[in-house]
């Protein structure tokens, strides 16, 4: 597994190549990339700053990955999350999962994202024309993580 928290952008092709890493048991690679929208709750976003809690971030992402591996047969997992100032169109997060078959990879990728959104200590502060504001947590994100209890 690899977890990276970084200010720099990432390259999807390179990340997938790194994750695949010559593992011929892999039959499926699923990736999710989250990006910055220019509109949030009807306010236009000029830029956003992503803050995290060093130490806990890595620990919580590793725990989420361990939970995914306990649920599904996975070959490998890569999580990259950016911090610092980002602008609309910028990539924020990458979750990439390899497995022998697509079912496991699709499910695990979604599971990791749902728990990252609700458990990993990252916060977004948006700059809008009306000033800056901390983004509120969404209850729909809690619901998304909650449904895995019965899946």
């Amino acid at each position: 597994m690899t977890v990276r928290v970084q200010a720099a952008d990432f390259d999807l092709t390179q990340a997938v190549a790194e994750l695949h890493g010559g593992d011929a048991r892999v039959g499926a690679i699923v990736t999710f990339v989250g990006t910055v929208r220019d509109l949030d709750d009807a306010a236009s976003v000029v830029s956003m700053t992503l803050e995290h809690y060093p130490g806990m971030t890595e620990k919580s992402l590793a725990a989420i990955e361990a939970e995914a591996r306990a649920r599904w047969e996975l070959r490998d997992v890569l999580i990259v999350h950016r911090v610092g100032e980002l602008r609309p169109l910028d990539r924020i997060v990458l979750v990439a999962v390899t497995s022998a078959h697509r079912g496991e990879a699709f499910a695990a990728c979604e599971f990791i994202m749902d728990f990252l959104k609700t458990r990993a200590p990252f916060w977004k502060k948006e700059e809008t024309p009306a000033g800056s504001r901390w983004v509120d947590a969404r209850t729909t994100d809690d619901d998304a993580a909650e449904r895995w209890k019965t899946r």
Binding site: F122, W123, W134
Partner: protein, 91 residues
């Protein structure tokens, strides 16, 4: 059993909570009556003003002890790093 005289925790405030409280971290001595994370939150809220508002029971505040999210009933130990922060919004 812990020795009351030696009990302290290192507090860390993050994101919006750090901004409104105007403090990033502090070391706090814990009275013997403060046993759990919930007790600690009440102790801090008792400082009044912004503390009372932001840490009121109905406000969504997440608490992590030594980098793990915990419930209000979790016990405190001397030397713990206790972080208080709003619900997370990454991804």
């Amino acid at each position: 059993m812990r020795t009351p005289a030696a009990v302290f925790v290192d507090l860390v405030y993050l994101a919006r909570l750090r901004e409104v409280l105007g403090i990033a971290s502090e070391r706090v001595a814990i009275p013997a009556a403060v046993v759990t994370v919930g007790d600690l939150r009440a102790l801090l809220a008792a400082r009044g003003g912004t503390w009372a508002i932001e840490l009121a029971p109905e406000r969504a505040v997440r608490i992590a002890v030594n980098h793990t999210l915990v419930e209000p009933g979790a016990p405190l130990r001397s030397g713990d790093e206790v972080a208080l922060f709003p619900p997370v919004t990454g991804g």
